[in-house]
């Protein structure tokens, strides 16, 4: 079905991403590419669906054949007639605003008749009962619902191969379970699944073969049984997340603390849903994990605490003194989920000093060195890799030295090593007078980092 022969991939500056990859994938197989971030596992996916050479300006050597056709000779739409793609970030990867139109978009483009579309839609609803997602505004779906829609639309397209690039990276546990079930159904229909992922527990029942990718090469190929037998610690060292689902081991929140949230009330945009928080207390010197399913309002809660949600009604006290939104804004700093929103200047040094009055001599230098960023100090922050950008954002937070530090999903899409690194960085930020808040659904990360957990489900 898929034949890859001596595939090498590189970007302009002789940066080699893939080195001499050769493999075959049979029809109906589920194959997993795994490895560290930057190992090249996603590039293999993008070489199969043709995006790497057509979008990322990569140069390919060697051969990728799908159903005996060399994809170099094909237009992107011709490849897409054989392969459907599911992307890492469902937030932006869609073309229509209405969910049903998005589902039918592919069918319309390949020229199916209206009756046939209805038939396919009905068939799809039998396999995936997602009637509640039809005819809705995609912008009002949660991240998990969007990813479910993406997978459903790759089924409705009728291709017998689907490639998925880290499909779980922005999902919470419940949605990962749903995605896992969907993939199992797809496999039972005989559809070839090719997944790149380092969070692997949800694939363990589905996968047939696992390729471990390291530095652009196939380090090892496992049959399923063999892979299940390998030692967890060894996999962690290779950058992989846990093979089995981890249980949250962090205790709940205690009753007392010097930062008292008497109440927060926030009405979500057009819906009637409200975020209502009552009687929570946080202590200085502690790190709090904030959990709750996609769409429950973790980010909103954080923004309300910071005081940046103008419309929120709140009553919050620190050491018995009432804090206004403005007070809190002054005392807070935030690392956003998408750090691209918070990088404003033209060099890393300027970035970490931005908005801080009278920064101590040499402080920013020490911070940058600590985060391994000093070599990039004159680079444009936006030219760095995702992980480096995030460290720049963290560096700016550390320089601001705020009383309250907030992290919104700091580890989405991260492999084990990077996740542990962020965990350590956050632990280093801890101080007696500081309170740290982390919104996350990453259980392994919270286990390693947080002192207490606030579950937003309890406030519904």
């Amino acid at each position: 079905m898929v034949e890859i022969k001596n595939l090498s991939l590189s970007y302009e500056k002789d940066e080699e991403i893939l080195n001499n990859i050769s493999l075959n994938i049979q029809q109906g197989e589920c194959v997993l590419f795994t490895g560290k971030s930057g190992s090249g596992k996603s590039s293999i996916i993008n070489s199969i669906n043709g995006l790497s050479t057509r979008y990322d300006d990569a140069m390919a050597d060697g051969e990728v054949k799908i159903a005996d056709k060399d994809i170099k000779e094909l237009e992107l739409y011709e490849i897409s007639l054989m392969v459907s793609s599911v992307f890492q970030n469902p937030k932006t990867h869609f073309f229509n605003i209405n969910t049903t139109l998005e589902l039918l978009f592919y069918l319309e483009n390949i020229g199916l008749s209206r009756e046939e579309m209805d038939k396919r839609l009905e068939d799809m609803l039998k396999v995936f009962p997602i009637k509640h997602l039809l005819n809705r505004d995609i912008f009002k779906l949660s991240g998990g619902e969007k990813q479910i829609l993406c997978i459903a639309s790759s089924y409705i397209s009728g291709t017998n191969m689907i490639v998925l690039d880290e499909p779980s990276s922005n999902l919470d546990d419940d949605n990962i379970r749903i995605v896992s079930d969907m993939l199992a159904k797809l496999k039972s229909k005989g559809i070839t699944l090719i997944v790149s992922e380092h969070r692997i527990f949800y694939l363990m029942d589905i996968v047939d073969r696992v390729f471990l990718i390291q530095d652009g090469k196939i380090k090892k190929e496992y049959e399923k049984d063999e892979f299940l037998k390998t030692d967890q610690k060894a996999l962690n060292d290779l950058g992989l997340r846990d093979k089995f689902k981890t249980q949250l081991k962090v205790p709940g929140i205690s009753e007392e603390g010097n930062l008292e949230v008497k109440s927060i009330e926030f009405k979500f945009g057009s819906t009637n849903n409200k975020l209502r928080i009552k009687d929570l207390a946080f202590r200085s010197g502690k790190t709090y994990g904030i959990i709750g399913a996609n769409g429950l309002g973790k980010s909103t809660f954080i923004r309300c605490l910071i005081g940046v949600e103008g419309k929120a009604k709140d009553e919050i006290y620190l050491d018995g003194k009432k804090l206004s939104k403005k007070d809190r804004l002054r005392m807070s700093s935030l690392v956003m989920q998408d750090v691209n929103h918070q990088l404003f200047t033209d060099s890393v040094t300027n970035e970490v000093c931005l908005g801080i009055k009278n920064i101590e001599e040499g402080k920013e230098k020490a911070v940058l060195e600590n985060l391994d960023l000093h070599v990039f100090k004159d680079r444009h922050p936006m030219s760095l890799s995702g992980g480096q950008k995030q460290r720049v954002a963290i560096a700016s937070v550390i320089c601001k030295d705020s009383r309250f530090m907030f992290f919104d999903e700091p580890t989405s899409g991260m492999d084990y090593a990077n996740m542990m690194r962020i965990s350590k960085l956050i632990k280093d930020c801890k101080g007696n007078d500081k309170t740290i808040f982390i919104a996350s659904h990453d259980v392994e990360f919270l286990n390693a980092t947080a002192d207490h957990i606030v579950d937003l489900k309890e406030f519904q």
């Binding site: 897409s80 932006t92 005819n135 940046v308």
Partner: protein, 204 residues
């Protein structure tokens, strides 16, 4: 956006656009007052039938007030701002009909019907794809802008230095937009949008 597909009183976007165009002609070729009132009432009727009752009433009241405008006498007044304001209202009076028709078009048309109208008009893809993308991107753009503003507020970047401020908004916004642009076109291309085989209109 309300679902208006089934409403018999909601003309398709092509009709609405043609109406806007025709009413635009009244700006240059003056019409008599009866005709204008008939047009205003017709527009209000369509607003009303599409659950925009407030707009229906507002439309009649505003046009009534604007019609009275030339009778206001401010020759004696020395208030320059009042004069300027009235000047602006006069401009509004002249362009009122097409503008209201435009508001009607925007408020009562959903994206799907606009896109299928474009298909019916056989607009070249070079125009119809960018227009479809505009609808798709606009909500993202609003979201991104909001996030950037929040980030700036938390970082304490104020409006004190307007040029710097504009730079700090522009850079992340344009870079984010470029990224989203790639994502949208990837989503479109992996769904065969460039397939040259003739499309059959779905007109959903």
């Amino acid at each position: 956006m309300p679902v208006l597909l089934e409403n018999p009183y909601n003309p398709n976007p092509i009709t609405k656009l043609a109406t806007t165009f025709l009413l635009g002609l009244t700006v240059i070729h003056e019409m008599n007052a009866y005709f204008e009132w008939a047009a205003v009432l017709a527009l209000s009727f369509v607003f009303y039938k599409n659950e925009f009752k407030k707009d229906a009433v507002r439309n009649i009241i505003i046009f009534g007030l604007l019609s009275l405008l030339p009778n206001v006498n401010v020759i004696e007044s020395t208030n320059i701002f009042l004069k300027m304001f009235l000047m602006l209202l006069l401009v509004l009076r002249i362009f009122y009909l097409p503008l209201t028709s435009g508001v009607l078009l925007v408020k009562t048309s959903d994206v799907g019907s606009i896109i299928s109208s474009m298909d019916k008009l056989k607009l070249p893809r070079a125009v119809s794809i960018p227009i479809a993308v505009m609808f798709r991107f606009f909500p993202s753009f609003k979201e991104e802008g909001q996030n950037i503003k929040r980030a700036m507020k938390i970082r304490g970047i104020g409006f004190k230095n307007p040029i710097r401020y504009i730079e700090h908004v522009t850079v992340p916004l344009l870079i984010m937009s470029s990224n989203i642009s790639d994502d949208i076109s990837k989503a479109a291309e992996t769904k065969c949008i460039e397939n040259p085989n003739k499309k059959i209109g779905t007109s959903l």
